[in-house]
Amino acid sequence: MTEITLENLAHSYLPDPSGDADWALKPMNLTWRDGGAYALLGSSGCGKSTLLNIISGLLVPSQGRVLFGETDVTGLPTLDRNIAQVFQFPVVYDTMSVRQNLAFPLKNRGLAEDVIKSRVAEVAEMIGMTDVLDRRARGLTADAKQKISLGRGMVRQDVNAILFDEPLTVIDPHMKWELRTQLKDLHRRFGHTMIYVTHDQTEALTFADQVVVMYDGRVVQAGTPQALFDAPEHTFVGYFIGSPGMNLLDARVEGATAKVAGVPIALARGYGPLSGRIQIGIRPEFMRLGTGGEGLPFMLHRIEDVGNHRIVRGHVEGAAVNVIVPEGQPIPAGADRIIPDPAFIHVYADDWRVDPAAVERAA
């Protein structure tokens, strides 16, 4: 077990990358703490799997270094990194029984028969396949096969890290929840560093202590689920985390006032002169509905009751805006205004959050 450091790492699948778009991964520095449970979150094609394959050694990065502790492993093959990885689609060895499948990584490392036996029994228990251990793997269903893949990933105890590449895609929802709980449990018991790639925020937020959000080949924010919710550093994080995501409105910011479509809104703090495309972001949780008078003009389209709260969907000046109304709170008849809570308004310049404290220091 060890800390994993990515130093000035970048990767391109093209032999001779020139423009920004040629890089699947833009230069990044990142440290994965030993024993951390990480989620790597982002939409499809943002470079999550590329990053994972670089860590496991299936890919050699175009530039930068990968460090395991103090050792530079950038050029080392997967074999010498001692890493486990579970892929999106099940990989089972058709010709073997479930037991042989689970024992395979241990056998290849020449472990003693009795160690293998007890490890296999333990993992089989964990994935709930004890009673089918002697069945052939080929005839099993897709989610049973994926459980075998997961089991093979977890069967080794001495690994530096276990990487999961959207492992629960093919598993049915109930089993998904159960396996995730077991992964979490496994993490608590053995303290392996785990990196879990997903595009499902629920999965990421329930599994991980630390969530790393990627967008367009960049790591846009790494932090606790709470930090990602409270202060999204990038508009993508705001939009991607939360259900529904953060509302973004084009605005002009002068001092402590933002003007959206000519309507002034008070901000909690003052901002200096800003350049680029300026937007304000407010989570749907921190707005309320009103009629007439103060607030932004709002066109209500529909109300969705999702059980413990309601989502009011509508438009402000052509931009889609959602408001969450807690249960028990009435929705005013003929609501045509929204009033954001100034304490929770963030200001974004060219998609990156403007830190009011930094602006104050600079002033």
Binding site: L58, T78, Q88, Y93, T95, M96, F104, S149
Partner: protein, 288 residues
């Protein structure tokens, strides 16, 4: 879903039935007809019963040809299947070279069979052939016209040259269908090259290998053109395989009755051995 039943649907099968009747059933029935009769020409036939079948089964000549045929097919399969797998494993998976290799591999398959025979007939000649001339200059006593062993070697090498590509291409297609994740998982699991072959590549190739073995068996068991062009079945009867023998009997000696009985037995033998192969290999797959 409820499926509508309508007997008029049989009408739709009629064209196929008619076609198959003309192309397969009628000619086969003609052969069956000949096999039970004797003729001296003039369109006069006499009932012969099972005489021709009896004669064929007892014939030393047919038995010898059958023995040679089985030996030939066994050698062909033993060489071409492993060699084809080996070639497929070593072909590039993508890029310009992959296309280049594919074209190169397909070339022998595109040459008409009698041309293949002619190529090797000339290639192996001691007086003007590149192979035969070079070998004799090197002091190796090689002459496929006089020496039975040399004739066999020539015919086998020719068949390997002609058909290994087919096995290789089929296996290549099977290999291409294996997702990358399998190889990656194997690397994560520290599987050796042999284990990757044994547990990933071979099982995934099982389907195409079955087809390759069946095709190569049937084709080699029916081989006629190439050895006929190269050796004409000689020296003596050394390379007279079943079909060459059959043609000699039917066209050379005009023994229509015995030839027809021979044909039917030949057909049944191929059917039987193919069936055995198929059953063995599909069963093997379940217990593998």
């Amino acid at each position: 879903m409820e499926k509508p039943l309508n007997n008029r649907a049989w009408l739709l099968v009629l064209p196929v039935l008619a076609l198959v009747a003309f192309s397969a059933v009628l000619p086969l029935m003609t052969v069956v007809n000949y096999s039970f009769q004797d003729t001296f020409g003039g369109n006069q036939f006499f009932w012969a019963g099972l005489e021709w079948f009896d004669e064929t089964i007892r014939s030393d000549r047919v038995r010898a040809a059958l023995g040679r045929q089985i030996l030939f097919s066994a050698i062909i399969l033993a060489i071409e299947i492993p060699l084809g797998i080996f070639v497929a494993l070593n072909m590039p998976k993508k890029g310009v070279w992959a296309s280049f290799c594919l074209v190169l591999m397909a070339l022998p398959l595109l040459i008409p069979w009698n041309v293949v025979g002619t190529i090797w007939q000339v290639f192996g000649r001691v007086d003007i052939g590149l192979l035969g001339y070079t070998l004799s200059k090197l002091g190796i006593d090689y002459n496929y016209v006089n020496d039975a062993f040399d004739a066999w070697i020539t015919v086998i090498v020719m068949d390997v040259w002609h058909w290994t590509s087919l096995v290789a291409l089929l296996c290549y297609a099977g290999l291409q269908s294996i997702p990358d994740a399998y190889y990656q998982a194997a690397r994560i699991d520290q599987a050796s090259r042999w284990k990757v072959f044994r547990h990933i590549e071979l099982p995934k190739m099982r389907g195409v290998l079955l087809i390759a073995i069946l095709l190569r068996f049937m084709d080699s068991f029916m081989i006629y053109t190439e050895p006929f062009v190269v050796t004409g079945g000689g020296p003596g009867n050394a390379t007279t395989f079943l079909s060459i023998d059959l043609v000699k009997m039917a066209v050379g000696q005009f023994d229509l009755g015995p030839a027809a009985a021979f044909s039917l037995i030949y057909f049944l033998v191929i059917l039987l051995i193919s069936f055995v192969f198929y059953t063995l290999m599909t069963k093997e797959g379940e217990t593998l």
